[in-house]
């Protein structure tokens, strides 16, 4: 994965979610990542450590609170599309409505 990532497509998004990368947002993020053939990774800093965005165990272990800047990168088939889709999900606050956000 490291080698492929050297030609990766990258971007940065600020998590705007009310509570951070908690259980429900992490489920959505990993599910979406898994829908792409590309390798997709996230990080809390521009220079990593990079985390497999398809593993909820690893994404949750990052313990990213609200207001964290999330970095995304992907490599392989439809990499650009994968990054754009994940970025959009985070920017939409993981599609969490008002009633959901309070207890997520």
């Amino acid at each position: 994965m490291e080698d492929r990532m050297s030609n990766s497509v990258g971007t940065s998004v600020l998590i705007t979610h009310e509570v951070g990368l908690h259980a429900r947002p992490s489920v959505k993020l990993t599910k979406l990542a898994k829908s792409f053939p590309a390798d997709v990774e996230i990080a809390l800093a521009p220079d990593g450590p990079w985390i497999d965005a398809k593993s909820i165990v690893k994404v949750m272990a990052a313990k990213a609170p609200k207001g964290t800047t999330l970095h995304l990168r992907a490599a392989g088939e439809r990499a650009g599309e994968a990054v754009a889709a994940l970025k959009a999900l985070i920017e939409r606050d993981f599609d969490e409505g008002e009633d959901h956000a309070r207890s997520a």
Binding site: V19, G20, H22, A23, R24, S26, V27, T30, K31, D52, S55, I56, V57, K58, M60, A61, K63, P65, K66, G67, R102, S103, A104
Partner: protein, 530 residues
Amino acid sequence: MTAHRPESVAAGIVASPGYAEGPLFALDAAASAYQASGSPEREADALTAAIASATESLAALAASTEGEAADMLEFQLAMLSDDALTAPALEAVAAGTSADVAWRAALDAEIAGYAASEDEYFRARSADLTDIRDRVLRALAGTGEEQPPAGTILVGEDITPTRFLSTDWSRGGGIALAAGSVASHAAMLARARGVPMVVGLGAVPPAGSVALLDAERGALDVSPDSSAIARFREAAAAFRARRDAAATYLTRPAATADGTPVRVQVNIADPSDVEAIDIAHCDGVGLMRTEFLFGTVLPDEETQLAAYRKVLEWAQGKPVTIRTVDAGGDKPVPGFTVEEGNPFLGLRGIRLSLARQDVFRVQIRALLRAATAGNLKVMMPMVAVPEEYRQAADLFTEELRALQKAGVAATMPPLGIMVEVPSVAIVPEAFADVGFFSIGSNDLTQYVMAAARDNGRVAALNDVRNPAVLRLIANVATFAADRGIPLSLCGDAGGDPAAIPSLLAAGLRDLSVVPAQLAVAKAAIASARL
């Protein structure tokens, strides 16, 4: 609050209010032993099959569940389906470890990672991982979960969310935990379902006996005598009546029976508390404690700033009164507080903050920066003489100048004081230049009555309705009204329906209560006549 606390009573933190009476049922009864085969191949097969079976039962449970509980189960299902979770266990099995030992070790490592988190939300996820661990271990051993009889009080270290969901609550019952967390999924579910739950009880007694769980005050009595049972039933009936009546008051602004409006704010001890409160139901935060930040390490400026901002943003412009750290007394902090023979009369509250300016200035900077994010007010605990307030106010001014010079966004919030040392309540005129007063009725009562609030033997003396305490409160209220200085009360008495009429009569029009008491406080106000 004035009840006698005998030896058989353990005190904890209310995670979900209510009352439960019944036999105890141990959650942590040892699972039946798994018989290892000794062959790595067969162990790997057994573990893989157990994980598949656990996944299947979890999926079935998720399919028959809705809302928050379904989201939680889907999260567990995603975790259990992730190779990153199972790989370390399978590797250990391949190296010769038995399936149950390997799985337990792998999951315990994950659990420890969450348990060590500084964030309460992520800390509370350790219960979800425990749930996953035990589900697979049960599948390995081929045992189901022993179902507690309906109406029992479940006791143990912690409770898993699926355990909560699989329990029959239709005939009452409750949860009493030695550890646990008010932010756990189980606590969230308990509040939603109205199941009484107390966490942080410390040692929890073995199962069997009949017990009383008071999840209004946070107490578990494991061997109550007949008079304790009678008192408990009376309190439980009163609680139910109040809750039913109160539900209709929760969403309305509070006012007395004769139409005088009363502000009702909430006390919060941790920023995550606000997740369970609708800001529309209260007039702001009358007390946000900051001791939670000072658990084991002294918090840095950014950590504090994030915590303060979270609450200010949640409050949507309503006032949030943050109290500077009130360590000392019964709240020691390693590396900060000092050991003293009589800590309630020692170096605590503002005294300690002024003695440890290195620590205090960090908090002051975080508060000054947070003040730009909402309607912040800052109050200092344990002020006894005007000089303490002035010194603290000077530190705020100094730090504000330094921040502005450095180009950091910051602003000066109104600075006020707690009224809890009798010297302030007796001569409030000496404090005419403070921004506001907030009566800390717990400490004021214990200092006026010379009766410690954590000593059951003198609990009857520790009464806010004693005429001496009420006269002092009225003295402050009269002075504050004359000078137009805002005044509120943030002690436990503010949410005690029995004390509310006396507090209103003493002149208070702004009470801050724990969130669980919001509705009952509003109901008690509505039935009071001035």
